[in-house]
């Protein structure tokens, strides 16, 4: 009998080791400057998500106001805020909330890990750290302005236990944003000396001014006088930097954004979009498509296509000195494109926003018009950049703060700078001599200057006139003949309550985060 026994019971513990082959394990990242630049870009990337400034926040949430209404009776989730029909269960709200926090979490990871990276030039590392902190502060400002009390996450999410976090008060969140921006402002790159699109020192000062102004206004009213003074200080930091100014032509500011001409003179910070679908990349937004001049020319794959989902609001149209204000011609189009020809719109309440026009009409010799293309991205998406902070905003923020602190004459001078650029003469000072009169004029001036730039709703809430202005806008529509059959055009103004000045905490957040409670107004 011959026996050879096999020995197969080998121990191969190591054979159970696996290293992901299509991904990089996080511990192995953030080692080099290149790693850090890649990670930093993903923090910027969340600015351009469909749920942030790609579509939701820049267009849909900026509709259903005195400056913009929907042109369709369309109850899709992304438009629910534009109709003021949103609830804690609205997915659009949850999606935006999640993406803003994604930017924050990516920044938190960066802030925790990047210090360990080997970067030759320490100042480059500092600059990257400062940008991550700038973006985190920026996302927090968007959150706190929209929702009020929110969870303040300053460390990255590690696991399932990090679900639970209580809300921080609005005051604490503002303080965090202020502390952060003040801490890093001087470490950021300088406008004009870095790539266009990056956070700069002046962007930090501008954002600080916006933060203080927002904190001083309704419903916060936190340390108002002190805050207004800080608005002035930070605006001055921008004005005195010498890096920024008004362009001579209002129209040129937006042509630069439409045509991606990287000019940092007036635009201090913006969200960058690039139309790269033909390379298979999703880096484009919907500016000028959803909120453009309607042009549904058949089967044009590229070119100035627009669904024209938005009409300009009547209060906006009526606020312009239509004959003299250069901004009116650019911001409002009383025509649309049918079969490659501009056609005049019959009703005033059906005029389109022209600010981000993808195509323009030009007068031919024979008196007819034809259409030229300014931006030819994809049919459904565009590469038009979205302005976050412009120099005229610095001027008007400072003017507002000065007025609130009683220095109305100084404020008028700033207002006139903005008017003059628009081709208007200096305002009759007698009409805006007192604080309230100036404030009222400023309200209209900001709308004329910043319409369709996502500022209006925040402004109205800050001034405490949200309900009043919306109801007036509804009345304007009714008076203009958009009667019962078109009542969906002012559905957003039908039952405005105080709760509509703040968004509800997403239901999912309350479901999964045991320490979370709903906004008092939405309970």
């Amino acid at each position: 009998m011959l026996v050879i026994l096999p020995i197969v019971f080998l121990s191969c513990e190591e054979s159970l080791e696996y290293n992901p082959e299509s991904f990089i394990v996080t511990e192995n990242f953030y080692k080099t400057e290149a790693d850090c630049q890649l990670a930093l870009k993903s923090i910027y990337s969340d600015l351009g998500s469909n749920n942030t400034f790609g579509e939701s926040m820049s267009i849909c949430w900026a509709t259903g106001l005195d400056e913009a209404v929907m042109s369709r009776d369309k109850n899709a989730p992304i438009w629910t805020i534009a109709r003021n029909e949103h609830t804690p269960a609205s997915t659009s709200i949850e999606n935006t909330w999640r993406i803003l926090y994604r930017g924050i979490n990516n920044a938190n990871i960066f802030i925790e890990r990047a210090p360990g990276a080997v970067v030759e030039d320490e100042s480059v590392k500092e600059g990257m750290m400062a940008q991550a902190r700038f973006l985190r502060a920026f996302y927090y400002l968007e959150l706190v302005r929209a929702w009020g009390d929110i969870p303040l996450r300053t460390e990255s999410v590690k696991g399932v236990n990090d679900n639970e976090i209580a809300k921080s008060s609005t005051a604490d969140v503002y303080q965090f944003i202020i502390d952060e921006l003040e801490a890093i402002a001087t470490e950021l790159p300088v406008a004009g000396e870095t790539e266009y699109g990056r956070a700069t020192q002046t962007a930090a000062y501008g954002l600080l001014a916006r933060t203080y102004l927002s904190r001083a206004g309704y419903p916060n009213r936190i340390l108002s006088d002190e805050s207004y003074q800080k608005v002035i200080d930070n605006c001055d930091a921008v004005i005195n930097s010498g890096k920024h100014d008004l362009l001579d032509s209002y129209k040129e500011v937006f042509l630069n954004l439409i045509e991606n001409l990287n000019d940092p003179t007036e635009v201090i910070f913006d969200v960058q979009f690039s139309s790269l679908l033909d390379q298979g990349l999703k880096e484009a937004g919907k500016l000028g498509q959803l909120n453009g001049i309607e042009n549904k020319t058949k089967n044009s794959d590229a070119g100035p296509y627009s669904y024209g989902f938005i009409y300009a609001g009547l209060p906006l149209i009526n606020a312009y000195d239509q004959a003299n204000d250069a901004r009116f011609d650019w911001n409002i189009a009383d025509w649309k494109v049918t079969k490659d020809k501009p056609v005049k719109q019959k009703n005033k309440y059906q005029w389109f926003p022209g600010k981000y026009r993808r195509g323009d009409r030009v007068l031919n010799e024979d008196g007819s018009y034809s259409i030229i293309t300014l931006e030819s991205g994809n049919k459904n998406t565009t590469g038009i950049n979205f302005p976050i902070l412009r120099y005229s905003d610095i001027l008007l923020m400072k003017a507002e703060a000065l007025n609130e602190l009683g220095s109305t004459p100084a404020a008028i001078a700033l207002l006139d700078q903005v008017r003059n650029r628009a081709g208007l003469p200096a305002i009759d000072a007698a009409n805006v001599a007192d604080k309230d009169a100036f404030r009222s004029e400023l309200m209209d001036e900001r709308m004329r200057e910043f319409c369709f730039e996502g500022q209006r709703k925040h402004d109205l809430i800050r001034w405490g006139v949200y309900k009043e202005k919306l109801e007036a806008a509804k009345q304007d529509l009714i008076d203009a003949g958009a009667g019962a059959k078109l009542s969906w055009m002012y559905i957003w103004a039908n039952s405005i309550e105080e709760k509509h000045t703040v968004l509800p905490i997403p239901l999912k957040e309350i479901d999964e985060n045991k320490l979370m409670t709903q906004n008092v107004l939405w309970r």
Binding site: E21, R98, N105, V157, I165, G197, E512
Partner: protein, 1045 residues
Amino acid sequence: MKNINKFRKLAHSSLLLVFMFLSTLVFAQSKKISGVVNDSFGVSLPGVSVLEKGTVNGTATDINGKFSLRVKPNAELIISFIGFQTQIINCTNKININVILKEDTKQLDQVVVVGYGKKDIKDVTGSIVSVKADELAKAPVANFDQALSGRMAGVQVNFTDAQPGEGMNIVIRGGNSITGSNAPLYVVDGIPMESFDSGSINARDIESYNVLKDASATAIYGSRGANGVIIINTKGGVVGRTKVSLNSSVGIQWIPNRLDVMSPYEFVKLQQEIAIGKGGEEPQAFLDKWEDAELYRNDKGTNWQDEIFQSAIIQNHNVSISGGSEKTTHHMSLNYLDQEGTLINTGFKKYNGKIRLDHKLSDKIKTGININYSSMEQSGVKVASNNRVSVLMDALTTRPVEPINDDGLENGVDPDDPDNLRFNPVKTLNNTDKSKQWTIFRANAYAEFKLLKGLSFKATGGYVSDNRKISAFYNADTRQAYKEGGIQGSLTDGLYTTLSTSNTLTYDTKIDEIHKLGVLLGYEYSVKKDESFVAGSTNMPLDNLGVNSLQVGETPLIPISYKSQHNMQSYFSRLDYTFKEKYLFTASYRIDGSSRFLNDNKWGFFPSVSFGWRMIEEPFIQNLDVFSNLKLRAGWGTTGNNRVPNEAAFSIMTATIENGYSFNDIYGKGFSVSNLADENLKWETTYQYNLGLDMGLLNNKLTLTVDAYKKNTKDLLLDAAMAPSTSFSTIWTNVGEVENKGLEFSLSSRNIENDNFSWTTNFNISMNRNKVVSLTGGANELLTDPQWNSKITEKQFISKVGNSVGQFYGLKSDGLYQVEDFNYSNGTGYVLKDGIPNNGSSAVIPGSVKFVDLNNDGNIDHKDRTVIGSAQPKHFGGLGNDFTYKGFDLSIFFQWSYGNDILNVNKVRLENPDIKYNYNYLKSVEDRYMPTNPTNNINIVRGEKSITGAAPEGNQVSDRYVEDGSFLKLKTISLGYSFNKKLLDRTYFTQARVYLAAQNLYTWTNYSGYDPEVSVGKKGALTPGLDYSAYPASKTITLGVDLKF
């Protein structure tokens, strides 16, 4: 990697290990007896076992069926052969015997396949159920799994939908996992596979099909046994004359029912109503286009269902050749199936080829190789795959008639309307070239060595390569080409390979005829590699070249590639002990390691024990003279589950096509964390108790098996929801517990058995109760969106502690608002009376959808949602009757499910009229609310102040759409005739049978959709029983012939 390669070499060589020889044991004999063994046709049977009773002295017949053996003078010989009735022959005074063995299909049942071996059924202590392979072959279906529904107690086999080529959803004893897979482990010819395609095996090659249900049976498969184990062994050759069998069948399939949609007249009336409701220029536009609804009163129009449904041919052809000598046996087969779909331009085709060779190198060494190759192709639009774009919904909602004056739309569809996702369904089906091609190559080889008496070693090596190619091409005349980037196509290529080895050492012995002992030791290792690649391009200038020349496209898609791997390593052992054939004991222990977990969590430990008491051996039972079999079984064991993505436990970073940003207008990629990892992720464990009783009465004419079980799955591998402020949507973690408990009865009765006529009945019924015991971090409920429509994002399913997983969740319908609910004034219009809640929208009118305000806060919102139904059946089962009369055979098989609900969300779109033009609805919408028709059922379209009647966003799914899904199906019926042997003697054939078979012939149900056997929710166990745009089930009738020679 080096280690893996090293190991792979070792695994290969382990198959080739050369082993020992054992000299034959020689026994002292006293007389030589010789003989010949034939079957009832007079054909000699080689390889028949001849054993002297009470000894281990034996031999086997040679190629001519002859044997000779030295035995004691008064010995009894046991003559046995698989597939034949065993005979015992007293050899007193005989030296030469002729034996005729009778074929016996029942005898096959006496041996049951268990993990890593076979067992005599009387020694089994676990819960195992088998299906006869020939029963599966009787049903006229494309893949064998479609014939399994209702056949086995405790095994739920359901369509998700009826698209040709789709696999069935098989759940054994209720779902354990919530977000993980509940699919059982398949062990095909000894190779364990987590994902097995039922099309990759020819139903007629299956020799045995066994399902291991309880932990004592499955624990030997340890980590992967928690969802039950299905063991399929395929046929090998049989020693003897080479037999050829041919089978051919051709049949026809059709979708028996249509949903009743509005007629042209009713449709046009609705258009008019909408136009008047919209006001302005709309009523005139209506007149310009349609003129007058009365003109359409007798118009038949187009029923789009008839346009896209078709009667379709199914054909199936098989040939197999099998035979062998004493040393070598072989089995070869080829199978071709071509199933046209009952929706135009869809279908399924497959080719299977198989070769199995077994060879005895010596008395001690046996080797074999088994090679299976399958090529399958599923073609056509995947009907249930997309949610907002559905060809079936397009067919149901496209307008049934063209207007009198051309409005420039194509069948009511505006290809340029950005919001309109519909498209002419006939064009969609005809111009979309989608195909999914799998080629699965499966080979395994073994070598078995008899080392010592009772001790043997078996090494098996297996290799599976599964290549999946998916191509999708949208010709010019498709919605995609019109609206989403022109003519476009993409190709996906995935290669999934598994290399595995399994080595077992077994020892069986008997001590003093009282103790029977079996020991199994084993070791397994497997490496599964996944690779995939996707490329595509859009904006192609022409569609002639299809996906074969993607470079003609003008806009590429970013290519995607992926590679991953999963390694497993396992040690296992089993001990079987039998005392006096009366008391049975089995214990097993398995240790599994998986590369999916980190550090100390890699290893899982899975013990089991079970006992059997063959009461029939007890005198007090025998004295009762009632039972012919009585056995009590009890077992406990644990099994595991590791079905998470290979990277679930790793925090990993990647860049998507959306992750990047431009500075200076120059784009650059960004990298961010794509998976939040729980580094402590570990095995999910199921603890199961089983108590079973096997009973035979009237000499086993009546047999009954009853099993009761309770299983608790702990440390659930849950893709748990994260708070949105964490920025992650889910994380794989171990949380919560699910319990399943149930009862199963199987009854089998040979009612009549005589030479000319036989009648047998098989019946089984199962009841399973499923309960969530706990959830993430003490949460009370888990809400899930089944994702059937990205615009209806309500979480329509709830898994609540104390209730079953995946119940329907929504508002309770309260009919419609009636005039009495309002105060009316000319200025303000209809204003709700105090105490009457709105429906979530502040604007309602008489005829608007109304809900019950459960929390009485005057508002209808998510807080008013409640459980509105459950997809879990109270019981389900099957009833089969088989008759033979002379040459005729008849099988009638019924399947049922009782007490389950269906969430019919088709009706959310089809019975919920809105103000959209050109949109058709179910006929029931004709009876909608109008001021002249104040019903309480279907909402008004639009009333004054342009208030719509439909439910607002967030409140669309209610108990209105929950229906009773109970059904009884005449699942399979087959009638055959076998020609008698005398007739066949004059031909080449030894057997010839013609048959007519039908599948899904009739369904008794109250369900209003196409078929109650449906579940297309995108979240598996969390979203069961959802019907939306499912491929409708077909009836099939086939005519076939079986020939053997």
